[in-house]
């Protein structure tokens, strides 16, 4: 196939190029180098930018995953700045504060609001007093917690919570605000109060037949139910002793179980100490006489109107446990001395119970106030006993703001000393 190739015609006019001077060439070369440099620089900048962008992306991812972690913590988390504004709030906290309207990201709108528009914190002990958590953090910078707290919703309603509040600080340790962690304790408290109710009912049901048994036996022993033979009397006496022991065990168990639950301090009342000691004295006198132990009670002259702040029966339990122990661990033909006097600390009283009994072995002294503890020589001496009495004493005395201690020498005797602040009389 013959082809025709068009060739540039000789006749086409080309622009006339100016003659190129060597300076011009050098100039051009210089510009080209400059351009190349610029390109390199731009590439460098672009590379830097890419690195920065990478870093930024990684940082954003990190930040988001930290926030995601915070958001998905099962406990409620709220961060608050020094002005009381919400910096961050997670889903759990959002639902606790505003149960009606909080979708998965529904708490975003709370951010930036003042926290006291949504909630305040209080303690179960004084539910009407809000805790100034931010002020507390500003004042001493230390974190604090309350396992029996209450979250008061401004929208209405309360949630029992355990909470902790800690300071948030910048890199240079400047205080920026505080972090509150909230744990919903609704179920735990319900279990607690169910346990309380159960124990209270169980104790009531166990005591009812025991009181009937006790009193019927007391009628027999006093002769009110007619004369009975010495053999019968002796048997009834033994049954009576065992009934009292059973009552004592129920009381110990109930007391220990209630120790953990705590009491509402607003129901505490002044209780006369010498009156309680006198009741215990009367109650235990027959037992002491039977073991040929003399009970002596020496009270300071002005002690008749000394009162301590406590709950009904607790002071009685303290005196009963100490005096009963002294009698129980004394040998026949000895005496137990109960002394009530002013303590060295002004406004405090001092109750001491001294016996000349078996004493407490040195190696076991640290465990004396532990639950279910009985000293080895006590176990040999008398097998019965719950090992709860002194745990109860310590707990009750400390609840009254006091302290309990003892001195003892094995084989020689023991003195327990209780010191309690007195109620200031108006």
């Amino acid at each position: 196939m013959a082809s025709v190739v068009a060739k540039p015609s000789q006749g086409v006019l080309r622009p006339e190029l100016a003659p190129v001077s060597p300076e011009y060439v050098r100039d051009l070369e210089k510009k080209v180098r400059q351009l190349e440099d610029t390109e390199k620089a731009i590439l460098n900048v672009l590379e830097d930018a890419r690195i920065l962008e990478d870093q930024l992306r990684r940082q954003t991812e990190e930040r988001e995953s930290i926030l995601r972690f915070l958001r998905s913590i099962g406990d409620g988390v709220v961060a608050i700045d020094l002005g009381g504004n919400i910096l961050f709030i997670n889903e759990t906290a959002g639902r606790l504060l505003r149960p009606e309207g909080c979708s998965s990201d529904g708490c975003e709108d709370m951010k930036g609001s003042r926290c006291n528009e949504f909630f305040s914190l209080a303690s179960e002990k004084s539910p009407d007093v809000s805790v100034d958590f931010l002020e507390r953090i500003v004042e001493n910078g230390k974190s604090f917690e309350d396992t029996r707290g209450i979250l008061v919703r401004k929208g209405g309603g309360q949630v029992p919570v355990a909470y902790s509040v800690g300071p948030i600080r910048s890199g240079d340790a400047r205080l920026l605000g505080c972090m509150i962690v909230l744990k919903d304790m609704t179920e735990e408290r319900e279990v607690d109060s169910a346990k309380d109710r159960f124990l209270s009912v169980a104790a009531h049901q166990l005591r009812t037949p025991l009181s009937g048994m006790r009193w019927n036996m007391e009628m027999i022993l006093s002769g009110d139910s007619g004369e009975s033979s010495p053999e019968v009397k002796q048997s009834v006496e033994r049954i009576h002793e065992n009934t009292l022991r059973m009552i004592g065990l129920i009381n110990d168990l109930l007391n220990v179980a209630l120790l953990d639950a705590g009491q509402d301090p607003s129901t505490a009342e002044p209780i006369g100490i010498s009156g309680e000691i006198a009741s215990v004295f009367e109650e235990l006198k027959p037992l002491a006489e039977k073991s040929r132990i003399t009970l002596e009670y020496v009270a300071a002259k002005d002690s008749a109107d000394w009162s301590v702040l406590s709950f009904p029966r607790r002071l009685y339990e303290v005196c009963e446990n100490l005096i009963h122990n002294a009698v129980k661990y004394s040998r026949p033909d000895s005496s137990v001395v109960i002394r009530l006097e002013a303590a060295e600390k002004k406004g405090w009283c001092r109750l001491s119970v001294s016996d000349t009994g078996i004493g407490i072995p040195k190696s076991e002294r640290e465990r004396v106030f532990g639950k279910f503890f009985r000293a080895s020589n006590a176990l040999r001496w008398k097998t019965e006993g719950s090992g709860l009495g002194l745990a109860v004493v310590k707990n009750f005395v400390e609840e009254m703001g006091g302290q309990v201690s003892f001195e003892s020498e094995e084989g020689k005797g023991t003195t327990f000393v209780v010191e309690i602040p007195l109620v200031v009389r108006k």
């Binding site: 005591r207 009812t208 037949p209 009937g212 139910s225 009552i247 009491q263 009741s279 109650e283 029966r313």
Partner: protein
């Protein structure tokens, strides 16, 4: 003595326990009557105006707290002394009974008969004021 005996009303649903009370307090020279539930208790308190009421808390129909508060809201009964005798021993129960006007609270299992008699006698001393 020609004095009419002081009248005590015992409110107790447990027969084993009420029998002892009744016998012991009668031996001590008191005139004793018994109610088995909260309704019967209030009826007898209104009819008899006893000098002292020994009141259990866990009783049928109306519990002891309810009986106490009904008595307090009735001006003809609010002066009658009530000693609560219960095996509930929690501080809050004791505080509630005292708040409702009980003059004494005895945890039954923890107190022997002689002590109960002594405390009943103390409440019935002619000169002792209600609170």
């Amino acid at each position: 003595m020609g004095d009419t005996p002081r009248r005590i009303l015992i409110i107790e649903d447990d027969e084993f326990i009420s029998d002892v009370y009744q016998k012991k307090l009668a031996l001590e020279g008191y005139s004793v009557d018994l109610a088995r539930d909260g309704e019967e208790a209030l009826r007898k308190i209104r009819e008899q105006k006893p000098d002292l009421v020994l009141l259990d808390i866990m009783i049928p129909l109306k519990d002891g707290f309810q009986v106490l508060s009904d008595m307090r809201n009735d001006s003809s009964l609010s002066d009658i002394r009530v000693m609560v005798m219960s095996n509930l021993s929690q501080g809050k129960d004791i505080a509630r009974a005292k708040e409702l006007g009980a003059v004494d609270y005895i945890v039954k299992s923890n107190v022997g008969l002689p002590e109960i008699v002594a405390r009943v006698r103390r409440q019935l001393l002619p000169e002792s004021p209600k609170k």
